[in-house]
Structure formats: structure tokens, C-alpha cells
């Protein structure tokens, strides 16, 4: 599904290059649940952003479902975002002016899903995530865990092939964090491919594979049985 070859990323400051990612080659198959780990500044968020097509490498090639992402124009990338990717953020990033219901509904609007169908899908997921009672509240009326729940609901409402999560539990209490991770596990069991970035060793155990980064290099790539 994902094929990275010799991806490099650096920032130029004056004459010096400061390296973020070096020579990253990586394959991820459908159905995997990959955890990217590493110290602060090791480049894990940048790698996730490149995979999520929010950022680009300076060199190297990236194929997503055998399509060359590194050659995409913005329009095609928007298409991929719309149809294949879902994002979950550490800071939830819900749209403050929209209610829970409307936040979850928005990706479907961009997909031009018909009104009736949209209502059914959103109702279904509200039910599944147990947040029907909260649907008319605004994000600032929710707790962090609840907000992240909405964030995940929004990310998967369009049935993406790949779910990307950047420190999804970073702002949450342990208990809420566990709830989110269990949710991820369920999603994975249902066949979703997931890539997450985290600091917490415990969270990595929910997945099937751990990639450790150090100073921009892949230091270790292990499968969990």
C-alpha cells in the first residue's frame, strides 16, 4: 500500500542543511497497524506528515497504492485526502464553530454524499461511539477524551483506507487514552490500516509493527507477534 524509497527531508538555514529524515525506505501493507516511535526531534511527525501527504520529501519517491505521490499536484492530493486518508491529531483539531454532529458530517460534505445517506452514516457512527447525546454540543463543551472520540469519528466516517494518528493520546488522561487505543484496535481488527506516532511504549503494543527513528534514520523495524 505504501512504498517509500530513499526519502530525505532537510531544511536549509543559510548554507547549512539541517536533516530531518535521511534515506527512509519503508513498505506498509494493507491491514498493518504501524507505530512510529522515537525521541523528540527524531523526525517521526515529519515522516507521518509525508505519508499523510501534508508534507513532501526533498528527495526520494513515494508510491501510495502504486501511484507516484511525489509527482502529484495539489488537486490529486486533495482527492486522496478525501477518499483514502483519515487524520487524528494530538490536539483534536475540531472546528470550533461546528457542533459534534457537523464536525463529523463535514468530510461527507466534501465527498458530496447525499443528504439522506449522510444522515444515516453520521447517526450510525454517533451510535457506535456512544456520543448521540453530545451531537449538538460544540467542541469546547466536551472533555478532551470526548473531543478525541469525535476526532476519530470524523477521521473514519468516510471509510478511509489509511488512518494516520499523531500522538492521539498525548493530551489525554490514562483512562481516556486507553479508550482511544482500544477503539483503534477495534478499527484495525475490522481491517483498517493504521499508522500512529507515539511516545508511549504501552500504546505501541496495540499495533502489529514498531518503527523506531533516531536522528532521521530508521533504527529498528520490528514486528509484534
Amino acid at each position: 500500500m505504501i512504498n517509500l524509497e530513499n526519502i530525505e527531508k532537510y531544511y536549509r538555514s543559510g548554507l547549512q542543511k539541517s536533516w530531518v529524515l535521511r534515506d527512509i525506505s519503508l513498505n506498509v501493507d494493507e491491514g498493518e497497524f504501524v507505530t512510529i516511535m522515537g525521541a523528540s526531534g527524531s523526525g517521526k511527525t515529519t515522516l507521518l506528515n509525508i505519508i499523510g501527504m501534508l508534507d513532501e520529501g526533498n528527495n526520494g519517491s513515494y508510491h501510495f497504492l502504486d501511484e507516484p505521490v511525489h509527482k502529484f499536484r495539489e488537486k490529486r492530493r486533495t482527492e486522496i485526502h478525501k477518499h483514502y486518508l483519515g487524520f487524528v491529531f494530538q490536539a483534536y483539531h475540531l472546528i470550533e464553530e461546528l457542533t459534534v454532529y457537523e464536525n463529523i458530517e463535514t468530510p461527507l460534505l466534501y465527498r458530496n454524499v447525499k443528504n439522506q445517506e449522510r444522515k444515516a452514516i453520521v447517526a450510525d457512527i454517533l451510535d457506535r461511539f456512544n456520543i448521540v447525546a453530545k451531537k449538538d454540543l460544540f467542541p469546547n463543551q466536551l472533555s478532551g477524551g470526548q473531543q478525541q472520540l469525535v476526532g476519530v469519528a470524523r477521521a473514519i466516517i468516510g471509510k478511509p483506507k489509511l488512518l494516520l494518528a499523531d500522538e492521539p493520546t498525548g493530551n489525554l488522561h490514562t483512562e481516556q487514552g486507553q479508550m482511544i487505543m482500544n477503539l483503534f484496535k477495534t478499527l484495525h481488527d475490522d481491517g483498517m490500516t493504521i499508522i500512529q506516532v507515539t511516545h508511549a511504549e504501552k500504546n505501541a503494543q496495540y499495533g502489529t509493527r514498531i518503527i523506531r527513528l533516531n536522528d532521521g534514520f530508521i533504527e529498528e523495524d520490528t514486528m509484534i507477534a
Binding site: L54, H93, I95, E97, T106
Partner: protein, 790 residues
């Protein structure tokens, strides 16, 4: 999707009350001004264009070759040229003489009303689209005592049943006699530059004014209706050829045909007789001023929207990651600005409706804001789209360009380029504001100058009364009675008004007159012997006319300018040829302004003739004007009991020349106030966001020991520098534009430094107060509050 956008737009509107308010207030005001200006411009634009045959109606004008190769264009043409054009040329379908409208007392039995009108023939109603409601207008051509009156005048004279009662009735016109109402026409529309409540038979006019039949007398005006497809220039040439046959001079006068509908807005010609402008320049100036105001408030919108872009950046990032395309984001933000514009237009319509009566008083128009008219909505919708785009396009573009990877990690990189734009817009705003303020000031000063300028002739404490046959008849008795009244100093007759000499002749010859001086026009004014005393005009040499002297009617008095042109040394006692007979120069009068200040002082001849002078002038003592006026009224009642008295103050009459300038001055003042208000509204918004953004920095500085004074300085410095820069750039621009405007006058004020310094100082003071208010608020806030938020 659309619903989702409007929902967000609406919630943002409510959540950001201050922001929305600044935008809506600013946009509403400028949109209201734009709307009102558009109404005015549209009214000016449509003037005289409603005639169905408009494309084929031409006004005949006359060109006079002057010294050098220059041409002068006059509206006056000889009547026979008009008539000959129709009889001789097949492409001329109709002609009509155009009389100058004048006020007249019309009497039906005991009921007397004042109305203005003129003479005409039935072709008048054939050429122009003034519909006849009842009666037979062709009687104007058949009967000398025929008159057509307007619906309004008919209703005043004959009540609501005028349609049955008016036709066939006799009305008495005080100056010209009895007439029979033969036809009633619909009131002339408001956007007709000609307004006549009565049109009496041209035959009557002709029989009382046989000079009109002379080929050499250009005292008439007229319009032609040409055949479809006729070439105006070629037709004019043919008419000119006809005209030339009747001129026995070397430098012959020419004929020019101007579209009747163009005459109103394009009344000025250059020395080659090409149209250079006219009233259209005022229309353009005001149109541009309204557009500038709209731009100022759109700049506010752009600046505020980009200033708070960081608040929206996260939303942009999120939306992009869940599949929003750039286009859909641009659409979303345009809908937001559209919503604000939409509300503002609603408010603007309400403001305009409320302000319209006042605007009509200022502009002297009858503008309507008619919302049931489809064209009105076309206008409103165009303004809506224009404003939405002007205000919304740039912010939407900026916002939709944000990259999620930057905004979501919370590190919006500050791009210096955007700040330059924001600063540039503030600078531009203040350039425009200064331009409008200085403009208002200079126009006002020039108008004051015109009003108060010493013309070399007295215009204060003088009233003028139109001299009709009755007054001429009883002049001596009237004068004797008037002089007995308290407060009345003197009485004289003059015609035309010496402040606006409108009668001229080229029939003056003098020894040494060069061929290229053949067409030099001398203004003529008919006076009584006491002219100089009443108007306080000094004599330079010789003497003025003696009272009761018949011999003096073969003499002539010139002004200095006339003597200068003729180049006669020691003029008193010399002889000139006046209309072919010799006249002796007995005196020279000091120059005074005898036309508007747009023009240089014209050469003028003063003739003795108190019979047909035209205007009775009554001079009163400085402090006893009202006593004098009641004396005047009493005298008229006793000497001329049947003649209603109508007088005008000469100085008020004089101000009417400058109606456009006075209007410009008034409007410029409004524009200036609005522009500075709107610009400061924008500054208020910007400084609020700026202070908010810098709240952390302020707190840290405060903790480090900065005083409130330091902080206010630190926060205001940047804004005031921008305002200052705008003003600095604005000064030369406004100097350039205004000195250009002043060039249209022959006599003007000088542009002084203070005229620019004062508005600049004012602008900076108001801006400092606006910014200061915000920054002081930010500077005295408790630092803990903003630091804890981090």
C-alpha cells in the same frame, strides 16, 4: 455544503461581534454613500436621454473664429439658419427654437401664480418626447395667442377637473399679454434639463422681437431633428454653407451640431471646438470619490480578515486534511464576506432611504430609491458582487493557501510579504483620506473666495426685479416713490445684470482693428445715468452719462479691458464705429468681473437706455435692508397695484453661478468626514488584533519593568508611522490634483502649506487617539492574565 458554509459564516459573525460590527458599520456607510452617488450619477447620466428620438436630436451651435486659429463655441445661433436648415435640407426633418426659460406671473381671473416657461412651436412636441394630454398643440403654429401649459400648471389654475375646464380658457401673462390655453402636456420628467410649465406661441415671440429674423443676430437657440442615418457632421457642414452665404465678413462663423442629449454633460469645448468635458467632470469626480470610500472600507475588511487569519488557520488545516479543496475553501470564505456584505447592503439601503430627502436638498434633485425597479436591483447586485470580491477575494486566497502541516503544528510562519501588503493598504487608506480632506478644505476655501471676492462692483444690499412693460411705463413715478422710503438709497435700471453680462456684439470698429479681431465680442449693458453710483464702480477717465441727456445716446462708455483690446490711447473724445454709425467715447470705467470667475474680465460697452434695460435694481442701506424691503413692497402696491412683486438678492443670485462648486464643497465635506471615520475604524480593528497578538510580549515587557508609557509608544509607533507615510505620500498627490482643479478658474486662491499640514495633523491626531485607546487598554492589562493563557 452551502448550508454548512452559511452556518459557519453566521456563527463567526455572532462570535466575533467586534469584528463583524466594524465591518458592517464601515461597509454600510460606504455602501450607502455609493448607492446614493450611484443614484445621482444615474440621474445625471439619464438627463435628456429619455427622448424617444434622442439619437436624432441635435442642438445647433455656432463657432466663432477668434485671434489666432482658435474657435469659440456659442449656443446662440441666428433663427433664420434654423429655419433654413429645414427648408433647404431633406435630412433635416424638423426644427424648433429653444427659448430661455423665464419666470412669469400667470393670471386666471383673480388667481395669479408664478411659473417658468418659454416660447415654442408645435415641432417642439414632435421632436421631444413631452406627451400632449389634451388639446391641439398645432395651434401654437396657427394662432399668436396660443399657449400650451403643463399638467401641473393646469391643475393649479383650473383645479382637479383641468382636463375638461382648461382648454379654451384665457390666461393673462403679465409681461406678454393674453393667451388661450390650447393644449396641456404631461409634466416634463425630472431628468429633463429643460423644465417648462408653459410654452406660448413662437409667432407671438417673433412678432414682438423682429431682430430674430436677422441672419446676423445670434440671439436665438434651437434644435433639429435629423432623418435616420443622417450624418451630423455632413449636415452641419451643409448648414454652415447656407449660413456663410449670409455673412459678409472674412472670418465667417461656423455651425456645429451636438447631440441634444450630450449638451447637458458635455458643455465645454476646446479651442478647436472639440468637446473637452463639462458637467461630466463633476459626475466623474463624485463617482470616483464614492468608489474611493468603498475601497477604503474594503481595505478595512481585507486588513481585518488577514489580521485574524491566524485564528482561522487551524480550521483551514483541518478542512484540508479531511478533503477540502482550495476552491471549496475559497468559496467558503467568499460566502463569509458575502454574508457581511449582504447585511451591510441591507443596512445601507435603510440608511440611504433615510438620508435621501437630505441628499435631495443638497443636490437639488428628485432622486428616488425605488426598490420595485429591476434596474435598481441590477445596480445593488453589482455593488454586492463587486464589494464581496474586493473585500473577500484576497483574504480567501490567503487563507485557502495555508498548508496544514504548518498551521496544525501551531507554527504559522510569518511571511513578511503579507505584512507589507497590510501596511501598504493602511498607507493607501490614509492617502485617500488625506486627498478627500484636503480636497474638501480647498474647495471650501475657493467657494468662500468666490463668494467674498471683491468683484470691483457692489453686489451687497441690492435686490433685482425683472423689468416688465408696466415697470418701464411707471418707472419715474416708481423711482420717485421708492427714493422717499426709508432705507432705500438708490434705484436704477440695468440690463442684462452687470454681474453676468450675456449680450454681446462684434459690431464695433475702431481705427487699427486687425482682420483677426473681426469677431471680437464686446459685452453690452444698457444702463441709466446713475449706474456707477448704485454699483460703486469707479470711473478711470472721462465722465459717465448725464441724466436726461438725449445727446448722450450717441456716445459710448467702455471698460478698461475694451480700451486695452482696441489699443486706443487717450480714449476720451475718440470715435469708434458702433453698428456702422460713429460714437464718441466719453468715459472709461474701471474693470470689474462681468462674467463668472471661470472667465477673464470681458471687454464691455456701457450704453445709455433706461427704457428697455431689463432689470430694476434697488439699493438699500447696510443696516436697513428689511425696512427698505417693506418700503419696496408698499411702493409696488401703491404705484403698480396689479403687478405682483418678485425680487431677488443680487448676491444670492451671484452664488447660483457656482452651484456646482458649492455642491462640490458640501459633498467633499461629507466625503472627508466619512473617509477619516472609515480609515480610523479600520485602524481600530487592526490595533485591536495587533494588541491581542502582542499580548504575551506586552506582559513579558511589563514584568521586565516597562512602563505603560513605554508600551503605548511601542504599540502605537508602527501604526502611526504608516499613517504618517500615507499622509506624506498623499500631500503631493492632493496638491497636484487640486492645483489642476483650480486651473479651471481664472481667479483662484493660492494653495498654502497649512491647507495640507492641518488636515495631515488632524488625521494623525485622530489616528493616534484611535490606536492609543486600544494600546492603553492592552498596556494596563494585568500581565498574569495573558501569560497564564499560554
Amino acid at each position: 455544503m452551502f448550508r454548512n458554509y452559511t452556518k459557519i459564516a453566521f456563527r463567526n459573525l455572532i462570535n466575533q461581534k467586534g469584528y463583524s460590527l466594524i465591518n458592517i458599520v464601515g461597509l454600510s456607510i460606504s455602501l450607502a454613500v455609493t448607492l446614493l452617488m450611484l443614484l445621482w450619477v444615474q440621474d445625471e447620466w439619464s438627463t435628456d436621454k429619455f427622448h424617444e428620438k434622442s439619437d436624432n436630436i441635435y442642438r445647433m451651435k455656432r463657432t466663432i473664429p477668434l485671434e489666432g486659429n482658435s474657435l469659440d463655441v456659442y449656443n446662440g445661433v441666428p433663427y433664420p439658419v434654423l429655419a433654413a436648415a429645414k427648408t433647404e435640407l431633406p435630412e433635416v426633418i424638423q426644427y424648433t427654437p429653444l427659448g430661455r426659460s423665464f419666470e412669469e406671473t400667470i393670471q386666471r381671473e383673480d388667481l395669479a401664480v408664478r411659473a417658468s416657461g418659454t416660447f415654442g412651436n408645435s415641432a417642439y412636441f414632435e421632436i421631444f418626447s413631452y406627451p400632449i394630454l389634451t388639446g391641439d398643440v398645432t395651434q401654437l403654429d396657427k394662432k399668436k395667442d396660443a399657449i400650451a401649459i403643463s399638467e401641473k400648471l393646469a391643475a393649479t389654475l383650473y383645479g382637479t377637473n383641468w382636463k375638461q375646464n382648461a382648454v379654451g380658457q384665457i390666461v393673462h401673462m403679465h409681461d406678454i399679454g393674453d393667451f388661450m390655453v390650447e393644449a396641456i402636456y404631461a409634466n416634463f420628467p425630472d431628468n429633463s434639463s429643460i423644465q417648462n410649465e408653459f410654452i406660448y406661441s413662437f409667432e407671438a415671440q417673433l412678432s414682438a422681437n423682429d431682430w430674430m429674423l436677422e441672419w446676423t443676430n445670434s440671439g436665438s437657440q434651437g434644435a433639429l431633428l435629423l432623418a435616420d442615418g443622417a450624418d451630423a457632421a455632413k449636415t452641419a457642414q451643409k448648414i454652415e454653407d447656407l449660413f456663410h452665404e449670409h455673412q459678409n465678413k472674412d472670418r465667417k462663423e461656423g455651425i456645429l451640431l451636438q447631440k441634444f442629449a450630450d449638451h447637458y454633460l458635455y458643455g465645454q469645448f476646446d479651442e478647436q471646438a472639440n468637446v473637452t468635458g463639462g458637467r461630466i467632470e463633476y459626475v466623474q469626480t463624485f463617482g470616483i470619490a464614492a468608489l474611493l470610500l468603498l475601497i477604503i472600507s474594503c481595505i478595512n475588511f481585507v486588513n481585518l480578515a488577514t489580521a485574524r487569519a491566524s485564528k482561522r488557520a487551524k480550521e483551514v488545516g483541518v478542512r484540508k486534511t479531511i478533503g477540502a479543496s482550495k476552491n471549496s475553501l475559497v468559496t467558503q470564505f467568499l460566502i463569509e464576506s458575502g454574508m457581511i456584505t449582504f447585511i451591510s447592503i441591507g443596512v445601507a439601503i435603510i440608511i440611504s432611504k433615510a438620508a435621501l430627502p437630505q441628499v435631495n436638498i443638497i443636490t437639488g434633485k428628485f432622486l428616488h430609491l425605488n426598490l420595485s425597479e429591476p434596474m435598481m436591483w441590477v445596480g445593488i447586485c453589482s455593488i454586492f458582487l463587486l464589494t464581496t470580491l474586493l473585500a473577500g477575494a484576497y483574504p480567501s486566497f490567503v487563507l485557502s493557501r495555508y498548508r496544514p502541516v504548518n498551521v496544525l503544528s501551531g507554527s504559522i510562519t510569518r511571511q513578511p510579504g503579507k505584512n507589507i501588503l497590510k501596511k501598504g493598504l493602511v498607507v493607501m487608506q490614509f492617502i485617500l483620506a488625506l486627498l478627500l480632506i484636503v480636497g474638501a478644505l480647498v474647495v471650501e476655501k475657493q467657494v468662500q473666495y468666490i463668494k467674498n471676492k471683491n468683484l470691483g462692483i457692489a453686489k451687497e444690499n441690492l435686490v433685482m426685479i425683472h423689468q416688465d412693460a408696466n415697470i418701464t411705463e411707471s418707472y419715474d413715478a416708481l423711482r420717485n416713490e421708492l427714493l422717499k422710503k426709508e432705507g432705500i438709497l438708490d434705484v436704477t435700471v440695468v440690463g442684462p445684470s452687470p454681474l453676468n453680462m450675456q449680450s454681446s456684439t462684434s459690431g464695433v470698429r475702431w481705427p487699427g482693428k486687425r482682420p483677426d479681431q473681426e469677431n471680437i465680442e464686446f459685452q453690452m449693458v444698457w444702463t441709466a445715468s446713475n449706474f456707477l453710483d448704485v454699483f460703486d464702480v469707479p470711473l478711470v477717465s472721462g465722465r459717465y452719462y448725464r441724466e436726461g441727456s438725449t445727446y448722450d445716446t450717441t456716445n459710448v462708455v467702455f471698460n478698461e479691458r475694451a480700451i486695452e483690446i482696441m489699443g486706443i490711447e487717450d480714449p476720451v473724445g475718440k470715435t469708434v464705429q458702433w453698428w456702422g454709425s460713429p460714437r464718441q467715447i466719453i468715459g472709461v470705467v474701471k474693470d470689474f468681473h462681468n462674467r463668472s470667475l471661470y472667465e477673464k474680465i470681458k471687454p464691455a460697452a456701457f450704453l445709455l437706455d433706461s427704457e428697455d434695460a431689463g432689470w430694476l435694481f434697488v439699493k438699500s442701506a447696510d443696516t436697513k435692508v428689511s425696512t427698505a424691503l417693506s418700503g419696496l413692497e408698499a411702493t409696488f402696491k401703491s404705484v403698480l397695484p396689479n403687478v405682483p412683486l418678485h425680487y431677488e438678492f443680487v448676491d444670492k443670485q451671484y452664488e447660483k453661478f457656482y452651484k456646482s462648486e458649492i455642491l462640490t464643497g458640501t459633498l467633499a465635506k461629507y466625503f472627508a468626514v466619512f473617509s477619516i471615520f472609515l480609515s480610523c475604524l479600520g485602524l481600530l480593528g487592526l490595533s485591536t488584533f495587533f494588541a491581542e497578538q502582542k499580548s504575551k510580549e506586552i506582559s513579558i515587557r511589563k514584568v521586565l519593568g516597562a512602563s505603560t508609557y513605554n508600551l503605548v509608544g511601542f504599540l502605537s509607533k508602527e501604526f502611526l508611522a504608516l499613517v504618517g507615510l500615507g499622509l506624506l505620500i498623499g500631500i503631493p498627490i492632493s496638491w497636484f490634483i487640486l492645483s489642476d482643479w483650480l486651473m479651471t478658474f481664472q481667479y483662484t486662491i493660492d494653495l498654502k502649506v497649512w491647507m495640507f499640514a492641518l488636515p495631515a495633523f488632524l488625521a494623525i491626531a485622530i489616528a493616534a487617539m484611535t490606536v492609543g485607546f486600544q494600546t492603553i487598554k492592552a498596556a494596563i492589562a494585568n500581565p498574569i492574565m495573558s501569560l497564564r493563557n499560554e
